[in-house]
């Protein structure tokens, strides 16, 4: 195999790794949008909080002298998902529920306020500097000719792929099989009608925020471990990227969000491989504008029809 091809394969692996975490965050956007037709602006901050909680738990457990890495990771996952879900629920309760039924702009602005609030809350509580965690999972597989170019696939990347796959499968099963998942789908079809049929829509909407937050926390854990640093401002850009992914795939559609996340991740990896890496954000936002221009309903979305 030639060097160019191996290099391309390496970039694809990196891109799919980042892309799968974008997909996890994007699902939160897409589910909330599917049900109440609004963007959850504070979603990126939830992801950031998930990352912070992961770091706190891992550092705490290591400090207490625990050595078994799988157990530490599982505890960190459970705690991060729990805390982030609580934040997600609170955001819905404070910034969305009291404003349901008012002008569209109003909940949007209150959510932006919430996002600014959460970001600065973490700045005040944890400081605004980068917090670095030494890599916990090291090593990996390599293949290719060492003399030409060696493609590496680290265990951490494998963990991200695996965790994303498991989470996606669990979510798909939950949405398609369980009673609550059916309620979620019913709500996104017609909120008013679902309410008339005796389903507690308030609870279903809260549940959607909780699921989105839990997935964001998983992404926060994985990306936090992958990059090894976190600061209070990572949520802003990650939220923007994930939203781009959700729109790319067609907002409101869960498979769309996954596809959009992967496409965006690969696009970014390829951009930073062949162009100066500072411009990768420019390319991904440019992609968002292009998608909205030529296919506003996204890759897998259904065109929206406005009714009176």
């Amino acid at each position: 195999m030639t060097e160019t091809l191996l290099y391309l394969i390496q970039q694809l692996i990196n891109g799919l790794t980042i892309g799968s975490t974008y997909a996890l965050i994007a699902i939160g956007y897409t589910m909330v949008y599917g049900i109440i037709g609004m963007i959850n602006f504070a979603h990126g901050e939830i992801y950031m909080i998930g990352s912070y909680v992961t770091f706190i738990v891992i550092a705490g457990l290591l400090g207490m002298g625990m050595v078994s890495l799988p157990i530490i990771l599982i505890i960190a996952l459970v705690v991060a998902v729990f805390i982030a879900s609580t934040y997600g629920w609170t955001v819905e309760r404070v910034a969305y529920r009291p404003l349901r039924g008012s002008n569209r702009l109003i909940p949007l602005i209150s959510a932006i306020g919430m996002s600014i609030f959460l970001q600065n809350y973490v700045v005040l509580a944890q400081g605004s500097r980068d917090v670095a965690l030494p890599p916990q999972i090291t090593g990996g597989w390599t293949f290719g000719d060492p003399a030409v170019f060696e493609v590496s696939f680290s265990y951490m990347q494998a963990l991200i792929w695996g965790a994303t796959f498991v989470t996606m499968t669990a979510l798909t099963l939950f949405i398609s099989r369980s009673r609550m998942g059916r309620a979620c789908r019913a709500c996104s079809e017609d909120l008013g009608m679902t309410n008339l049929l005796g389903i507690d829509t308030n609870r279903t909407i809260a549940l959607t925020f909780i699921i989105g937050a839990a997935l964001a926390a998983v992404a926060g854990l994985l990306l936090g471990l992958y990059y090894g640093v976190v600061n209070p401002f990572v949520g802003f850009i990650a939220g923007l990227k994930a939203f781009t992914a959700a729109v790319l795939g067609g907002i409101g559609s869960i498979p769309g969000a996954v596809l959009g996340g992967l496409v965006l991740g690969v696009t970014e990896a390829l951009t930073s491989a062949y162009f100066p890496s500072e411009y990768k954000d420019v390319v991904s936002f440019g992609l968002l504008v292009l998608i909205l221009l030529f296919r506003p309903s996204g890759l897998l979305g259904k065109p929206e029809v406005e009714k009176v």
Binding site: I56, A59, L99, I109, G113, Q126, I237, F285
Partner: protein
Amino acid sequence: MQNSKFLSALFAAGITFVLACLMIGVKLDTEGTELAVTGATAEQWTWIGLGIGLVFLSQLFSNQIDAFFGKLPKPKLGGLLPEEKKRAALKPWLLAALIVGMLVWPFMVSRGAVDLATLTLIYIMLGLGLNIVVGLAGLLDLGFVAFYAVGAYTYALLSMYFGLSFWMCLPISAGLAALFGFLLGFPVLRLRGDYLAIVTLGFGEIIRILLNNWTELTNGPSGISGIPKPTLFGLEFTRRAKEEGAQTFHDFMGISYSSSYKVIFLYLIAVLLVIFVIYLINRLMRMPIGRAWEALREDEIACRSLGLNRTTIKLSAFTLGASTAGFAGSFFAARQGFISPESFIFIESAIILAIVVLGGMGSQIGVILAAIVMTILPELAREFAEYRMLLFGLLMVVMMRWRPEGLVPMKRPHLELKS
């Protein structure tokens, strides 16, 4: 009933505990190369406990609290104002007094106060510009700072490379910002409101990244310094004229040099710009296009059924808002003398949005008052500077929940039939 109230209060207190315990209760620290977790001090835990207690009690007695606030008489501000007819007669006099006051005032106070007033005027200009987009046309623009940056960099670059003067660059900046607004608005204004919010947010980031990385043109993160100050018909406000043969202001007037002339001059330019912007927007609001903005905000489908072209209407609002920001931007560059991409981050957009929201979307007086409050309060409460953004965020949520129409709600000029 009392029992379920108690349970829900307990639940809320529990949630507050979960929210606070890992974020405020512990702190991540780097000790050497290791990451360590330290618990909060007893004082911080006391505060957390107080917060939890507060949430618990306010949930437990929420009915009583609501009833109490419901009973409070609402202050009737309307009664303080004179009658409609008298007000109409009084208005031009009041306006004239206000303008004269604004022109005379800087000669009597300290330099710092004038400088702060100039900054406030910049924010008023930005607030008024965003008010057209968000308040009147109902388009949520989260990247407003991008147009501000375009205006500032236009002046800085044109004066650096071509030596153009401030007065020449002012309309060019506004025009270029408007062009950017047009180019961005054209594809995205067909979209629903929330898409627009994200696209403008992304656009703001793109502009900032470009300014940061296009080092050959913009000098990158280190910014552009030595931007010339505006001149009065060619008279400079420096101690000595830069070029041979040019005259300075104090030479021309035959007075001794003082650096505060420059500050006051900048302030007066800002006042003139703000008056110009207010006048322009006031006229536009009464024109068919201004009415169309508001109609579109209220009901897009009805507007389209009545044959209004929504793209043109939205685009005009967007472009006009952008050009106001360009105006403010080039003035900002002239005032600072130094600009860097650091001045044009998302937080600035958020502050301008908070000004519009706090003042009352669409209401010009409200926006002006809010801009004054938002720039002067942080100066007065410097020891709380780190809480500034936190409070801005909180303020936006609180305002949307209890007073979405803002402090001074917008009023359309209207006629009433009296029976």
